[in-house]
């Protein structure tokens, strides 16, 4: 509730003074005075003392009355919002009692009628919010005010739109006040400062039937398109939180208030942009997206000039696909896909899930608001006629994989597809939560780094002190007085101009780059050299540019090359994916296929084949998962050969992953890697050890190449365990089996047994099958501890209890 705006104001200030030109809603109740008297205590037993001489008069404590702003006259507001020039183009925030005003005063050149000399005028579009609105809500409103200001500045520059609209508004104000002075001619000598406020107060005598205009604002709303735009901004904010307004039928302003927008689908679910940021940082290629709306509706609602990448992504969307699969199918980089996911989540069009799969384990989410009279029960019955929501949820009482639930026959007669639809529905409403299994290696040294240091998290660092803190008096709690964050000198930097829009975010330490809407303004604004106008490019960083760049550079031979790429993708990509899913057998097939391809080429194949033979030799003994790694490796190499003529061009492009460049350097023989974006992407993801996801320095590709030279022995891999751990391992009978021990050692070495990665992640990253892992867990259950909990990245978007 507190995210809704109370009011929107439009104030100008120029050489002729300040004026409140428009406000919406403008029907302030004319019984203001009588209501304010009620604010005192309403104790029926209290004696109404006429005047308490000892007490000071009760001050006004609330300016909100029945959800509407009260107690402010228009004139007062206009003086408050017409700030001094020093405060222009920066955040304006004022709190009066329980109302918070936020706006972005914009100073812009303005043509007066008489001479063509431009003078400056200040406009301020201010939103009134409840003071309890959270800081991130305030920030979003500030952003909206800023964008409105910019759109108006642009339109003023283009066609003097603001001048025209202001003329209409001022004329309407004058008209009404003239009419007013005619009607109450004898009341002319009333207080001067009431002159302006007259325009907002409705005439009590004229309640509808009278033809005369009710208030200046009513007139303005009829005549001015800007006023209508502001009205629709206000109304869209209060209803859906998503604003799509075309200012002067020219500049499209799209804005989303995520706190509100997410409530369209889930009442009471407030998701802050900061949460989405955090969630995106934790996003991994195996995550998937679940659209909250019908994909066709979504496609229809997207403006024409949106990014084609987004359209492609939505067309290929399925809740069964991981981001990686989507990226490959839509021919995008993983980074692009996660940026797009960020957009979709921000705009409440999607949520992040682990792709639907029969082996997923779901339970009822702790915050699920289900009761007997819940509207969800009806909705569910409408969607799935023969099923009952409550019964369905009770099936998820025990953590069992989905296939088990479906075998129990609760999916109705519809089989798996229907159950999947049903689960998707429940996930959208945040009624189900997925549980994952995490593994922790039971090491004798808990909480110690390899170098023996003890780690303390921030909270428990003060463990010893916190127990001894004397709370002798509750009011004497220690307040840590931090040093001033910013010296006052630095705060007086120049006000922000258009260019520093992105850097402004740095001040607040939250990255809002993806939270820009998909389309902010029409492309016409690009002429204005707005860096952020083209939001798509801006927020996708360089990912998109790479793709575009290629298309421009290589006109002629692009097609042929594309075909080649496609062909190879067909092999390698498929093998990659299928091996992910079906385990090792396909991986082996994939490798033989690709090796065949590879051997038809000559250029570098000698080296490659040597390499691969080595690998195969070693792999025969060691881990099957290596094979698929190898297949990717090879496919990349094959590709290099196929398109060697084009390589240089791609080299010159901005690379998506600097790491691969490093790899190229390190390997030397493979300097010319990274031809197809897709393959790069794939290799990037398959080779990535998740623990070093963002660390460019450590690259597993190098490992993969080095290992064949020194085939892994039990001894070398056992080095990853400490001596105590080895003793513990020796007592486990399963450690007699070298294969099992090797797999364990390898996974342990990569840090999968620190409770950070769930089984699905290990399966995805290391290309092992679930049964393999389960067997391993079972065999080593004395040293491996498993626990089931939710994936924090996904759980973040759930309402917390």
């Amino acid at each position: 509730m507190e995210v809704n705006p109370l009011n929107i104001f439009f104030v100008k200030s120029d050489s002729k003074g300040d004026r409140l030109l428009f406000r919406y809603p403008y029907t302030t109740d004319n019984k203001d005075e009588s209501k304010q008297k009620k604010y005192g205590r309403q104790n029926p037993y209290a004696i109404n003392s006429t005047e308490d001489l000892l007490q000071n008069p009760q001050s006004q404590t609330s300016n909100i009355c029945k959800g509407q702003l009260s107690g402010f006259t228009d004139e007062m507001l206009s003086t408050l919002f017409a700030v001094k020039a020093e405060l222009c183009n920066r955040k304006f925030e004022l709190k009066v009692n329980d109302v918070r005003f936020v706006g972005h005063p914009t100073l812009l050149p303005y043509r007066t009628n008489k001479d063509d000399t431009a003078t400056m005028i200040l406009i301020n579009i201010v939103f009134a919010l409840q003071a309890s609105a959270s800081h991130s809500v305030v920030k979003c409103y500030y952003d909206l005010s800023k964008r409105l200001g910019k759109a108006l500045r642009h339109e003023e520059k283009r066609c003097s739109y603001l001048t025209e609209e202001m003329k209409i508004m001022l004329a309407a104000h004058d008209e009404v006040s003239a009419l007013d002075s005619e009607m109450n001619g004898d009341n002319d000598d009333e207080d001067d400062n009431l002159r302006h406020s007259v325009s907002s107060a409705t005439y009590s005598s004229e309640n509808g039937a009278d033809a005369a205009p009710k208030s200046a604002f009513h007139l303005i709303l009829q005549r001015s398109s800007l006023a209508r735009s502001m009205k629709s901004v206000f109304e869209e904010l209060s209803s859906t939180g998503i604003v799509q307004v075309r200012i002067n039928k020219w500049v499209l302003l799209s804005f989303c208030l995520p706190h509100k927008a997410h409530q369209i689908h889930n009442r009471g679910l407030i998701i802050e942009p900061e949460t989405i940021d955090k969630c995106l940082q934790k996003l991994r290629p195996y995550h998937g997206i679940l659209l909250m709306v019908n994909p066709n509706d979504l496609l229809a609602s997207i403006p024409l000039d949106s990014s084609s990448a987004l359209l492609r992504l939505i067309k290929l969307y399925s809740p069964l696909k991981s981001l990686q699969t989507l990226a490959i199918e839509a021919d995008l980089t993983l980074k692009q896909v996660s940026q797009l996911t960020g957009h979709l989540v921000y705009w409440a069009k999607a949520t992040v899930i682990y792709p639907l799969c029969e082996s997923n384990v779901y339970v009822v989410a702790p915050g699920a608001n289900v009761h007997i009279h819940s509207p969800l029960v009806e909705e569910f019955a409408k969607e799935f006629p023969s099923l009952c929501l409550l019964q369905m949820l009770s099936e998820f009482s025990l953590p069992a994989p989905l296939w088990y639930v479906s075998r129990n026959g609760c999916g109705g007669g519809g089989g798996g597809a229907r159950l999947a639809r049903c689960v998707a529905w429940l996930l959208r409403r945040r009624l189900l939560l997925q549980l994952h299994t995490y593994v922790q290696f039971n090491s004798p040294h808990w909480g110690r780094d390899p170098d023996g240091k003890e780690y303390y998290c921030e909270k428990h660092d003060v463990f010893n002190q916190s127990c001894s803190v004397s709370f002798s008096s509750l009011n004497q709690m220690q307040l840590n007085v931090p040093e001033p964050v910013e010296p006052r000198e630095t705060t007086n930097t120049f006000p922000d101009s258009d260019e520093d829009y992105p850097t402004e975010n740095n001040l607040n330490q939250t990255d809002f780059s993806h939270t820009k809407p998909i389309v902010i303004e029409s492309e016409h604004i690009k002429y204005d050299k707005f860096r952020e106008a083209d939001s798509a490019n801006h927020s996708f960083d360089d990912g998109l540019d790479v793709v575009d760049g290629i298309k421009q550079n290589t006109n002629g031979d692009y097609d042929t090359k594309e075909k080649v790429q496609k062909k190879i993708q067909g092999n390698s990509v498929d093998s990659g994916i299928s091996s992910n899913m079906n385990g090792t057998i396909n991986g082996v097939n994939g490798i033989s296929e690709i090796l065949e391809n590879g051997h038809t080429e000559i250029s570098k194949s000698e080296l490659i084949s040597n390499l691969s033979l080595d690998k195969i030799d070693s792999d025969k003994k060691s881990l099957p998962s290596r094979l698929s790694d190898l297949s990717l490796k090879d496919s990349e190499a094959t590709l290099n050969k196929d398109t060697s003529s084009d390589e240089d061009k791609f080299e010159s492009d901005q690379d998506i992953s600097p790491r691969l460049k490093i790899n190229g350097m390190v390997n030397g023989t493979e300097k010319k890697n990274g031809v197809s974006l897709n393959l790069k992407l794939q290799s990037e993801m398959s080779f990535q050890p998740p623990t070093v996801w963002n660390v460019p320095a450590s690259c597993d590709v190098v490992d993969a190449c080095r290992i064949p030279n020194e085939p892994p022995t039990t001894e070398s891999l056992l080095d990853t365990f400490t001596s105590e751990e080895r003793v513990a391992l020796a007592t486990v009978p399963a450690s007699k089996n070298t294969d099992d021990l090797l797999l364990l050692a390898q996974l342990h070495k990569k840090g999968y047994f620190r409770g950070e990665q769930h089984l699905e992640e290990i399966m995805f990253m290391e290309n092992v099958s679930r049964s393999q892992l389960m067997q391993l867990l079972d065999k080593f259950k004395d040293v491996l501890i498993t626990f089931e909990t939710e994936d924090p990245a996904v759980a973040m978007l759930y309402p917390y209890q």
Binding site: S59, L80, R90, N97, V363, L390, G447, H460, V481, F787
Partner: protein, 400 residues
């Protein structure tokens, strides 16, 4: 830089008062700062740009105004005294607190108001304030302001004595209202009880304090202390508001808990581990192993009760007190309770079934009341209630 990361705008943390100043409307010079502690924190330029929020128009008198501009937050409570004795027939003043822009300031608002009221009454009685400003130095005033700033920043309370009058200022945390306390919930101290000063609290609270041990639930406390249960609820709610206690679910061997993502902290943070080992030990002489504790927590999942877990792991042999283990886990957020909510299905033929069973009292379960609460209401054990519900084919359980 570290400071910046921690203290960004909207971090929700309280900050210190950086400056206190008194601003007046001078009959000729207009708004001006009479006195400021420390000197020149708010420069003349900055003051001029914001002055019309500090000495505002008539309608905004006696409103708490907070303006966030140029990297600081200025809180004020502008006041006007109408009297013929002043030049221009009125005296305007505003005592303002200045904080960093990132800081939360809601808790300071009552303070500003009270201090202003104090100055106002002194002005009305003895013209103390206007005399101070006329004298030009305002020594007494700046002394008062310095004392307020120091005391509030360090002790969060301040006792001011000017002449013969005294006023007390304290910062009270502004929290949202705590949810109503239910009978089946268990209050538990967040601080060591030895550091708790009993004489700050009322008699009823003092009466129930010894029984708040982290295991007794509200209705049991009421029974043990012979205090009316609604009073116990009110006291506990009050304690929750002040952050002295928190509420945890009641410990039962049939209860189900589930590990949370936070559990992995236990593998890493030595501080947490030590705290946990100390807390969960059966006797201080024999401390349990962290790995055993972790194993216990890891074993908590949907579908396995504490009873099952204890049978499997035998915490007695591991020197673990399972009650304390659960309490610690809940307090630290390592585990969360999984509740069972019975809910009645809407079946059209329900009426006929009920008549067949001819049960006099068949209540419907709306899915908002968990089993614990039902037990507490009916005075039956969880097992009995569950048996009773199992018989009713219209009732299903939602576990969350």
């Amino acid at each position: 830089m570290d400071g910046k990361v921690k203290y960004y705008e909207g971090c929700g943390q309280e900050g210190p008062i950086r400056c206190i100043f008194l601003c007046e409307f001078h009959p000729t010079a207009g708004p001006k700062i009479t006195c400021q502690v420390p000197e020149n924190y708010i420069s003349k330029d900055i003051f001029d740009t914001v002055s019309h929020y500090i000495i505002p128009k008539v309608q905004l008198q006696r409103c708490t105004l907070t303006v966030t501009l140029l990297g600081s937050k200025i809180l004020g409570f502008p006041v006007r005294i109408d009297n013929k004795k002043y030049a221009r027939n009125a005296y305007y003043f505003n005592l303002c607190f200045v904080c960093d822009a990132w800081a939360r300031t809601v808790h300071l608002e009552p303070l500003v108001k009270k201090l202003t009221e104090y100055l106002l009454s002194m002005e009305l009685e003895t013209e103390w304030l206007s005399k101070q400003s006329i004298s030009g130095e305002a020594k007494a005033l700046s002394g008062v302001m310095r004392q307020v700033m120091q005391d509030i920043n360090s002790r969060r309370m301040c006792t001011l004595t000017v002449g013969t009058t005294t006023t007390h200022l304290t910062v009270v945390r502004v929290n949202s209202d705590p949810t109503p306390v239910k009978d089946h919930q268990v209050p538990v101290f967040l601080y060591s009880r030895h550091s708790f000063v009993a004489d700050q609290w009322d008699l009823t609270t003092n009466q129930i304090l010894p029984y708040i041990d982290g295991f007794n639930h509200v209705s049991k406390i009421a029974a043990l202390t012979d205090v009316e249960i609604s009073l116990v609820r009110a006291c506990v709610q009050n304690l929750v508001y002040y952050g002295v206690v928190t509420l945890v679910p009641i410990f039962q061997y049939c209860a189900v808990y589930s590990a949370t993502p936070k559990l992995r902290q236990l593998t890493r943070c030595a501080g947490l581990q030590r705290q946990c080992v100390d807390f969960c030990a059966r006797s201080p002489r024999q401390l349990p192993k962290v790995s055993d504790i972790f194993r216990m927590y890891a074993g908590m999942s949907y579908g396995s009760t504490i009873r099952d877990l204890c049978r499997r792991m035998k915490p007695q042999e591991l020197a673990i007190n399972e009650r304390k283990l659960v309490l610690f886990g809940v307090l630290e957020g390592l585990i969360r309770r999984v509740y069972k909510f019975p809910i009645t299905l809407h079946n059209d033929d329900s009426a006929s079934i009920l008549s067949d069973h001819s049960q006099p009292l068949v209540r419907t379960y709306n899915g908002l009341v968990c089993l614990d609460e039902l037990c507490c209401q009916s005075g039956l054990s969880a097992l009995q209630i569950e048996e009773q519900l199992e018989r009713d084919s219209n009732v299903v359980f939602i576990v969350k």
